[in-house]
Subunit: 323 residues, 2 copies
Amino acid sequence: MPTIPETIAGILKSSPDALIVCHLGPDGDCLGGGLALALACEAVGVRATVGSADGVPEAYAVLPGASRIITAPPADTRFSVGVAVECSTLDRAGNFADALQRSRTLINIDHHLSNAGYGNIVYWDTSAAAVGEQVHEILGAMGVPLTAAIAQCLLTAIVTDTGSFRFPNTTPKTLRLAADLMDLGASVHAVVERVYETRTPGSLRLTGAALRELTLSADGRIAWTVVTPEMLQKTGALTEDTTGLVGMLRQIRGVKVALLFELTPAGVRVGIRSRDAVRSNVIAETFGGGGHKGAAGFTAQGELDDVIARTLAEAEKELRAHA
Amino acid sequence: MPTIPETIAGILKSSPDALIVCHLGPDGDCLGGGLALALACEAVGVRATVGSADGVPEAYAVLPGASRIITAPPADTRFSVGVAVECSTLDRAGNFADALQRSRTLINIDHHLSNAGYGNIVYWDTSAAAVGEQVHEILGAMGVPLTAAIAQCLLTAIVTDTGSFRFPNTTPKTLRLAADLMDLGASVHAVVERVYETRTPGSLRLTGAALRELTLSADGRIAWTVVTPEMLQKTGALTEDTTGLVGMLRQIRGVKVALLFELTPAGVRVGIRSRDAVRSNVIAETFGGGGHKGAAGFTAQGELDDVIARTLAEAEKELRAHA
């Protein structure tokens, strides 16, 4: 009996075309994995279309094939194969969800715990550090030679989804695959330079202003800070420049929950990061949000101070239950 | 003819004792590499003493054997073999320099460009991502089985000296060695948790205060900031809490040189990080300091403003030559 990667390889190779779709708010893993799969499809004569409803963040614009990524599905096209890349539900494909649903065969590739299991073929592997690792298995089954371009796409997927091998999802297999991809001409450093080293002065100044005012609660087990529109204006930062800030708060020794409160026109956006047994998603779900165990979020209406107080109370409740 | 690692292995195995010394301000590479070498010596019956004049930073206190590290050499002991680990000059061994010098055979293991070439046996390999890689070669030549403890020491060396595989010194060989060490029971995540995720609130507040005040010079190609004793006091941070700060400044898009000026009792300590062709060590050497191409430093006497002005001038000179 063929393995799932072999089954997917067989379906792709016998199809005239494929629609490969990244999730909303695309990251290096779905973009790198999706583009690598598209390049492999084309190597065996399959017309590949890559979609990303939210486009391509600047850090990934240099990925081979990134310029061909479309942000809306072509009208009236029914694809032979639809591939959802790292979309836990079909909704996560955004405006491509219908096109995927209408494809003759829908393939669902994911490594997240929360995948809903939709589609005709589900390739779900929570032991994979990145979808890029799963795509690599498919490419092997397709018998496609790994070019330097494919290698760079796969390495980008792996480096970004492992925090450059820092996260506990990194396995010896991950490191060996990364080494093989480097041998093919891919560069970890090139990914790092694009992803981690293209900050603006404003984003660093905002990070500084927010860190300087950090507060500890619950005997040092909660660290939190606030970002206001005035801080964005004063530092010349953009809303997206808060990325990574809440993760820095979690770096504090003894901190189990880190919280970032951002005052936005849509309400108070709350980012949560947690450690050990503490579940970020449980805190977020109380307020109608969601996420992973280690990282979650929600947006709440109401006064900033009130949202802070209610969130701290929920975080302390979760701490009592699980720390 | 035996290779250098084989020569070193032969010397160690035929010696009754060895003194293994880390450099001043020890990092994960010299501590991990030094301790791995000590464990291997003991496995073949060589009495090993590990010295670190500046002791062991808390992040590395969990390394196997770390509690046995001494901070001053035993009086009147002449060691059969002295091993300087990652000491570009013998001075970098601090108060162990004399004991190393007096040992019958002095072995110098380093991967820094600037090594002075002292000692009876010089194992100098600038292609090694970490001294840990060189120690691994020696251990292989010694025929010592790699235990989980040795593996954790070597992995700590590699992870810390590559910024968890982010720096361009990371090679496919580095990644494969890391994978092998994981197979032996070592954990990248354990290193990361200790090294990158045990910050104090004071260190983050200091980082914040310094980032908030960052300045750009030379059309955005130089980013710099200042840390004063008042800032340390106000944020509750320690001198060592500035680690990583200058690297954050280099993350700014377009920045080729990042500079951190710290006002200390010993003078103005200047940390330099650079990108692309710009050489940090050349800037540092103008002021009597040293380091790598990408990372260097020096301490200067004089008024802060004057040191800043002179350093910016030298950095601009290097930018004109190499950017």
